[in-house]
């Protein structure tokens, strides 16, 4: 019996050493803190009209709506990978306009971010604000979405920070959140990013979720 117990302890001891080493490497590889956005972000949206959060020609025949959570890393990735292409090929050409619904299911910081985004929307700069937010995005729910962070994002996107933060407590900000939730529930949007597409005044249909490839958009926007 002693012999067997000795083996059990040997196995435990060896495992403890390996685990401790792995954890120390894993923990130190940890999370880079959110970086404050420094310079104004790209000129992606320059010259494109934005009306009530809808980017592009209001008469564009197709509306592509993106459901996001500003804290969601996949949303930032999708924005990086497909947004420039969508803007150049569909928005600038007047083929489609882009709408956005900011959900807030990841945590309280998502709601805070979405409320200030509503303030940016009131200034006709929702899309630049969202892009600047993604560029500076930190680890979700790590508490990086402070007033200072939001001010820096606003500044980088050409938004009046004081006005946007004041607007966060207002009625339009609440409606912005409620509309996003209501639409998401109605359409069965359960994850972010999810894209829906609508022709003219028709009902929106869910196009897909996650980082969609260009072919998926081409097929839907033909």
């Amino acid at each position: 019996m002693f012999h067997r117990h000795a083996r059990l302890f040997a196995a435990l001891a060896a495992a403890a050493v390996v685990t401790a080493a792995a954890i120390s490497v894993s923990a130190s590889s940890g999370t880079p803190p959110a970086k404050a956005p420094a310079a104004p972000v790209s000129n992606l949206f320059r010259g494109i009209p934005e009306h009530d959060g809808v980017l592009g020609d209001p008469k564009a025949p197709v509306t592509l709506t993106e459901y996001v959570d500003l804290q969601c890393p996949v949303c930032a990735e999708a924005s990086k990978q497909t947004l420039p292409w969508l803007v150049e090929n569909y928005v600038r050409t007047g083929k489609a306009k882009l709408d956005l619904r900011a959900l807030h299911f990841l945590g309280p910081d998502s709601e805070k971010a979405a409320r200030v985004a509503s303030g940016a929307k009131a200034q006709g700069r929702l899309w630049p604000f969202v892009e600047a937010f993604y560029a500076a995005q930190g680890q979700e729910n790590s508490g990086y979405v402070t007033d200072d962070f939001l001010r820096a994002v606003a500044k980088a996107s050409g938004v009046d920070a004081d006005k946007a933060l004041d607007a966060a407590d207002g009625e339009p900000a609440l409606r912005f959140l409620e509309q996003a939730n209501a639409d998401a529930t109605r359409l069965g949007v359960e994850s972010t990013p999810t894209f829906t597409v609508a022709e003219g005044d028709g009902a929106p249909k869910v196009l897909g979720s996650g980082v969609l490839d260009q072919a998926a958009f081409e097929k839907a926007l033909r």
Binding site: H3, R4, H5, R7, L8, A10, A11, L12, A14, A15, A16, V18, T19, A22, I23, V25, S26, S29, G30, T31, P32, C72, P73, V74, E77, F105, L106, G107, Q139, E140, N141, S142, E190, S191, T192, S209, G210, V211
Partner: protein, 128 residues
């Protein structure tokens, strides 16, 4: 009997780890029952250990455990136990990270953690 059960559990773990490894390299989002917790976990900085995807480490771990289960001597049993305890310890840490740091649960990862927990128990029973 315990050994057969351990092999079965290790095979389940192997399948989960293989799936997550493929997803990691394909850059996709895992099919997930809970709103995008899996994607959050897989895209976080904790998804890799010194550049090696954690999913791949799990895959290699299960392969090693299965290999060690081929033998049934004292030495093989000890090696199995060592591997399973280490797997259990690291899985416990990762689960803690999911809950405490990322606030996102990846059901596949939890599945693998449960496999490791079962394997740790089974391998300890074989030594006791």
């Amino acid at each position: 009997m315990t050994r057969r059960l351990a092999v079965a559990v290790a095979l389940v773990g192997l399948a989960i780890a293989a799936y997550l490894t493929v997803v990691h390299y394909a850059g996709g989002t895992p099919v997930c029952a809970i709103a995008h917790g899996c994607a959050t976990v897989q895209k976080s900085s904790y998804a890799e250990l010194a550049g090696v995807p954690v999913a791949l480490l799990g895959l290699l771990g299960y392969v090693a455990i299965l290999a060690s289960l081929a033998g049934d001597g004292e030495r093989a049993r000890t090696i199995t136990a060592g591997l399973c305890f280490a797997g259990f310890g690291f899985s416990a840490w990762l689960t803690w990270v999911e809950v405490g740091e990322l606030h996102a649960i990846c059901v596949w990862c939890v599945g693998s953690a449960l496999c490791m927990t079962a394997l740790a128990g089974l391998s300890a029973a074989r030594l006791a």
